[in-house]
């Protein structure tokens, strides 16, 4: 018990120090009023736009250098689209994405390609994100070829071996194919590939969701080690709230294209203010039968509405236990209820 307490105190102290350091770090990524609206069309020959899916509808956040921001929410809330907009895999409808002070949405192709080296991504599915016909070594070397960071073949091979070792794989894996590896090993390859061009910012899009429980912890530890070793900044997109709590410094909760709450990690989990965040946290079962028996199981009713025709006012109001008439009229702004703790709910 005593040793566990000491370890816990050390962890707490370490987090406090990290927090102080991060508060002084420069801002690396700024997202301002980002909107991504997809047109809904009808008709095969004469296509006309009949509506819009507001996948992301005016969200703003910043990420400091070395920080990990968690982006959580249920499917269809726009968290993945947000990541894709930052990578410019989608053409954002409106807003600004500043990386190191430069607006990504205004860069031309050439400028973006140069900057893309610094922004990498790790995908969810380690089975479909690796080319089955390429050897592991070639998969990891490809970004270096594209960006010309390691023109010399021998140096490139040495770098591949180094990356494999770094990600906990045998360098001999370079000659193998993806189908010879397990899911966890493939995800390590995906991480090695992202690291190959020495990025500053990595978007982890459900990077551990497809893995088995016993393998998840291995990959979480690897992501943490790499963050500390290279001072990486992560945008960690996930739906697993306990993993996000473990890994992230700050967390933003999304619902139907909007951020409903944003706070420092311990604050958000210890003191959730938005009714949706509270419902989300209450829905996660804890692996302890005693605690589960004592816990109140308040379950939020209904389902996430269609983003084609979202509810008026606060998008959560049809499911919200606190909703009053006003909630269906005005869209609530994200406001600071405590230093660093933002909530988009007028009832809080």
């Amino acid at each position: 018990m005593a040793s566990a307490k000491i370890a816990m105190d050390a962890a707490l102290e370490q987090r406090r120090r990290t927090q102080m350091r991060l508060a002084q770090a420069p801002v690396l990524v700024t997202v301002r009023n980002l909107k991504m609206h997809f047109p809904v069309t009808e008709g095969a020959l004469f296509r006309r736009v009949v509506g819009q899916v507001k996948a992301v509808d005016g969200i703003s956040f910043t990420i400091r250098k070395g920080e990990t921001l968690g982006l959580v929410g249920e499917s269809g809330c726009g968290k993945t689209t947000t990541g894709r907009c930052i990578l410019r895999l989608e053409h954002a409808t409106d807003g600004e994405i500043l990386f190191d002070g430069r607006n990504l949405l205004e860069l031309d192709r050439k400028e973006m390609n140069a900057l893309r080296r610094k922004i990498q991504v790790i995908f969810q599915d380690p089975y479909s994100s690796l080319n089955p016909r390429m050897k592991i070594g070639d998969i990891i070397a490809e970004p270096m070829l594209v960006h010309g960071t390691e023109p010399d073949r021998a140096a490139r091979e040495a770098r591949v071996a180094e990356l494999l070792r770094l990600c906990g794989l045998d360098p001999r894996f370079a000659d193998r194919y993806p189908h010879e590896m397990s899911g966890g090993q493939r995800q390590r390859v995906g991480i090695a590939r992202a690291l190959s061009v020495r990025p500053e910012f990595i978007i982890c899009d459900e990077a551990i969701s497809a893995l088995d429980v016993s393998i998840q912890a291995q990959i979480i530890n690897l992501l943490e080690d790499l963050r500390d070793q290279f001072g990486l900044t992560y945008l960690f997109i996930a739906h697993d709230l306990s993993v996000v709590r473990h890994l992230c410094h700050r967390v933003a909760v999304m619902y139907l294209g909007r951020i409903v709450e944003l706070a420092e990690c311990d604050e958000l989990y210890g003191n959730p203010r938005h009714p949706y965040t509270q419902a989300l946290l209450a829905a996660v079962p804890v692996p302890d039968p005693e605690i589960e028996r004592r816990r109140a199981h308040t379950i939020v009713k209904g389902e996430v509405p269609s983003p084609i025709n979202p509810p008026s006012g606060c998008v959560f109001h049809p499911r919200c236990p606190l909703a009053v008439g006003e909630c269906s009229r005005a869209v609530p702004e994200l406001r600071e209820v405590m230093p660093g703790h933002f909530v988009a709910c007028p009832r809080v």
Partner: protein, 333 residues
């Protein structure tokens, strides 16, 4: 409590070009009436195949049940003819699958799929079946059931589809429902709704439930009894408190320690289970968890441990070192 299902030494194997895969390798467990039993394990541990085996739904070839017995109210399901087992499926034992989109027929209306079972198994007329279908949809919390019956699966969201699946499972008043990862494809708030619905309906109707899952939290919330599987075997079995507070198998302990938990202070680092699960076609004469186990000794390499009593009478673990595991657990707390 009356015994409903009794599985003894069940063995299901797959005969592939790469060799014989022992997907289920001699598992035994019981389900009492009205009880919720969980089978927990990671992908490839044989938990789904063990469930499919109960209803003889394992694709043959390449799979085959090669040994053991499955007694449902005293009747050996493995000895039934194809015709007889068809009557058991759906009527006595029903199944809810993980992916509701692939288990519903996309070109038939929900109503047609629900009433087919009712007409088939219970010999209802079309009108009777329709009335019952409306009642069932209402029971699983689907609004406007009359209108919804005329719709197709793609009109339903994932959570709603899973409700339809539950309605289909319930339609013949089965005594046992086997739910294979019923909420894995769903969002967390919908997952809570579906699990609560399953729990409430099974309790009210006295239906026993076998839940197959990889999620330790779900098990803690809903199961009376837990079987942990690894490499085709049940390696630990007990009540939920036995398993969570006093695990005796190193795998169970490692699994519990590897997940970040919301009810505890954040740790600096997680303790992962090292290595990879074994290849089920290349198992040797020792404990399959041995290469990943921090407790392993010489006996573990020589002899496969059977399930042995550990701690409480309800509790058993398949580990030669379970005393060491208990001691380590005591030291840690």
């Amino acid at each position: 409590m009356t015994r409903l299902l009794e599985i003894r030494d069940l063995r299901t194997q797959f005969f592939t070009s790469a060799g014989v895969v022992k997907a289920v390798d001699g598992i035994s467990y019981d389900v009492d009436e009205g009880e919720t039993v969980a089978i927990v394990g990671e992908s490839g541990c044989g938990k789904s195949i063990s469930a499919l085996s109960v209803l003889r739904l394992v694709p043959d070839p390449p799979g085959r049940i090669v040994g053991g017995s499955i007694r449902y109210r005293g009747r050996d399901l493995l000895a039934l003819s194809d015709e007889e087992i068809r009557h058991v499926r759906g009527r006595d034992i029903a199944m809810v699958f993980q992916e509701p989109m692939t288990s519903l027929n996309p070109v038939l209306t929900i109503g047609r799929q629900l009433t087919e079972t009712l007409q088939q198994h219970l010999g209802m007329t079309r009108e009777q079946a329709n009335a019952r279908a409306v009642e069932l949809l209402g029971m699983v919390g689907i609004a406007e059931p009359e209108r919804r019956l005329k719709q197709y699966p793609h009109h339903f969201s994932g959570g709603m589809r899973q409700r339809v699946m539950i309605a289909m499972a319930l339609c013949c008043n089965p005594k046992l429902i086997i739910a294979d990862e019923p909420t894995t494809a769903l969002d967390v708030t919908i997952q809570a709704q579906i699990l609560e619905l399953l729990k409430e309906l099974t309790r009210r109707m006295g239906v026993a439930l076998i839940v197959i899952t990889h999620n330790l939290g779900i098990v803690a919330r809903y199961a009376d009894r837990v079987n942990v599987m690894y490499a085709g075997k049940i390696i630990e079995s007990g009540s939920a408190p036995d398993i969570y507070h006093d695990p005796r198998h190193p795998y169970t302990l490692a699994l519990l320690r590897s997940v970040p938990r919301m009810d505890q202070p954040r740790r600096a680092r997680l303790d992962p289970v090292h290595g990879q699960p074994p290849d089920l076609s290349r198992l040797d004469d020792g404990c399959a968890f041995r290469p990943r186990c921090s407790f392993a000794g010489p006996r573990c390499a020589a002899e496969i441990p059977p399930l042995m009593a550990a701690g409480q009478p309800s509790h058993a673990a398949a580990c030669w070192q379970s005393a060491h595991v208990a001691a380590a657990l005591k030291r840690a707390s």
